[in-house]
């Protein structure tokens, strides 16, 4: 077996309550709804950075506590904040909004992000203390503009304001007068995706202990579309993000597939490495501005804080087998095919059990399943239930129907092979990938042997098909690189001796036959 391995992971969150109120889809729809007072009430439900930092699921996402440890934190988690939260964790960090505006400015290639001059200086100073920011990156943050200029851009030229502490501190300009794919809102969404993915990639490069130049190829798998009116969604976020992170030897492209895109991207990356086309492939995604505050109506109605105030990002490194890191079992990829059908059991059979059957594994052989890992505190209050728990129950129910476990053991199966959801509802972010970093660590430490990562997507949202989608892969302990034993060099002297003898006989015979001596 010479499978590709997962050799690095980076996970980041960005707390962006002001962007949420300015550009999240729900807030945009509700802002001008005369029948609703949601937008006005929503401001009273905004969390400060400290509360977002101390929110246990967020600390899980960056690796400071494990998903299993989250079970020990009493719910509601937003009322039981952690006492000693850390901004940085083994996987990445939780970035505050003001610094993110600086990062967006540093990520801007077309002078579209304009910061107020005082704020620009202040944030440049602040970011100079960031452990991963280089002088070159700081240098990309421009001097800024006077507040009058920014207000003119916002009020007369359709720019989207960037607010902090109830003040406008900058704006994102439109990139075209008439093309809605390049208007200020879209440029804000895309710049936020690019900047958050870039931060995740920087953390991954640090964690994997590689140089940015070592990366050969980048696959970006977020849910945004970058392009213009002639090629909406044409791309290419991957190269834009790689350029920022100084991955000068890489090229790349974007993969889309709704929430399943990251799992598709990892499978593609694994294939590129297995085929020997590239040695190191980074899979990256930034956050989704549109989904900020998505379930805000329910959260405000039920008295919760607006918990969907976080942008999520991640970056993973897929590399050649090093004999150490967990392998991706490319021999058996779970997939929901076009012919699978949409009944839940057909879906679970195709994504979970078909790949297990191929290797002769049972469900209980998998230490942990990582399906959709949405934070239940966000979804339950919005009537969508506990999404990861529902997934685990489905896997367990099918195990019962297949005779692998007893019905009475369903609950213990869910507890043992599942985990609480901890990921922000950022679309592509929760679907399996948030656990890859933990799975890698647990397998490296010998605590686990096999983990299944499951990506699922709701394709009907694009109104092109009613097909469901899903793809999965197994991460497994690396058995080490099997070297073929070298064939011992054979003793050739006997063959040489024989050849000489035959030659001598030949000479002798020739001499006899032609009479010569």
């Amino acid at each position: 077996m010479n499978n590709p391995v997962i050799s690095g992971a980076g996970y980041i969150l960005v707390h962006v309550p002001n962007i949420m109120m300015e550009a999240g889809t729900t807030q945009l729809l509700e802002k001008d709804n005369a029948k609703s007072d949601y937008y006005q009430k929503a401001f009273e439900h905004i969390r400060d950075f400290e509360s977002a930092l101390a929110y246990a699921p967020n600390q899980v996402y960056i690796g400071n506590i494990t998903p299993d440890e989250l079970n020990n934190v009493e719910r509601p988690w937003y009322e039981n904040l952690l006492k000693d939260p850390k901004r940085f964790g083994p996987f990445g960090e939780i970035l505050p909004e003001d610094e993110f505006f600086g990062l967006m400015a540093s990520s801007d290639s077309f002078d579209l992000v304009v910061l107020e001059e005082g704020f620009s200086k202040e944030i440049k100073d602040k970011l100079s203390n960031h452990p991963l920011m280089t002088e070159e990156e700081l240098g990309r943050i421009k001097t800024g503009a006077k507040i009058q200029t920014i207000e003119e851009l916002v009020y007369e030229h359709d720019a989207i304001p960037l607010r902090y502490n109830n003040q406008i501190v900058g704006c994102v300009k439109k990139a075209h007068d008439r093309d809605e794919n390049l208007n200020a809102h879209t440029m804000l969404e895309n710049t936020a995706t690019k900047a958050s993915a870039y931060l995740a990639l920087k953390h991954m490069i640090k964690n994997a202990q590689i140089a940015a130049q070592d990366i050969d190829y980048i696959i970006e798998c977020s849910e945004e579309a970058c392009g213009d009116m002639n090629q909406r969604g044409g791309g290419n976020f991957a190269k834009a993000i790689g350029e920022l992170a100084n991955c000068s030897n890489a090229t790349g492209a974007d993969i889309r597939g709704f929430c399943a895109a990251p799992a598709h991207a990892i499978v593609n990356a694994a294939a590129l490495v297995s085929a020997g086309i590239f040695k190191k492939v980074a899979v990256v995604a930034g956050g989704a501005v549109a989904k900020l505050g998505m379930n805000g109506r329910d959260h405000v109605h039920k008295g919760l804080p607006l918990l969907e105030d976080m942008l999520g990002g991640f970056a993973l490194l897929i590399g050649e087998n090093d004999g150490k890191n967990p392998v991706i079992r490319t021999e058996t990829i779970g997939r929901h095919t076009i012919g699978t059908g949409s009944s839940p059991q057909a879906v679970i059979q195709s994504i979970v059990y078909d790949p297990l059957d191929k290797l002769g594994y049972k469900a209980e052989d998998i230490d942990k399943f990582a399906p959709e890992l949405q934070n239940p505190e966000i979804t339950e209050s919005a009537g969508a239930g506990n999404v990861p728990e529902a997934n685990y129950k489905m896997i367990a129910a099918l195990a019962v129907r297949r005779g692998e476990i007893e019905r009475a053991d369903m609950t213990s199966f869910v507890e043992e092979h599942g985990m609480p959801g901890f990921a922000p509802t950022q679309g592509h972010i929760p679907s399996g990938v948030p656990y890859v970093g933990f799975a890698r660590d647990a397998i490296l430490q010998g605590k686990m042997k096999k983990v299944m990562i499951i990506g699922k997507g709701s394709l009907f949202l694009g109104r092109m098909t009613n097909q469901f989608d899903g793809i999965s892969f197994i991460m497994e302990k690396n058995p080490g690189i099997t070297q073929k034993a070298a064939k011992p060099a054979e003793d050739v002297s006997k063959y040489l001796a024989e050849a000489f003898r035959e030659f001598a006989d030949y000479l002798k015979t020739r001499g006899e036959s032609d009479g010569s001596q």
Binding site: P344, I348, G383, A384, A397
Partner: protein, 109 residues
Amino acid sequence: MDLEIQQRIIDLTEKYGASNVVVMLGGAEAEASGIAAETVTNGDPTFAGPLAGVPLGLAVYHIVEPEVKEAVDPGVYDEQVGMMEMVLDVDAISKEVKKYRDQYSKYTA
């Protein structure tokens, strides 16, 4: 309930007549299923969609309710719904949907 789905239900009701339409729910939660049942019978309780203040009174059932199970071929039902019956809180969902059906449905299946 999704605003676009609400509009599709209005369109189908106008096309086929309210007495000829049965709404089949498949949601995983009792509360959300109840809201959907209320929406297609008494109108959108959140006043966000086109069914706000529009009491269509349609017949509405959840796929896991006994009335539906009895009406479907057992083999097909087992293949399509059997696993979800083990996963969902069938009693809670049935109770919640029946509550709104009994109260507001003007038509029966």
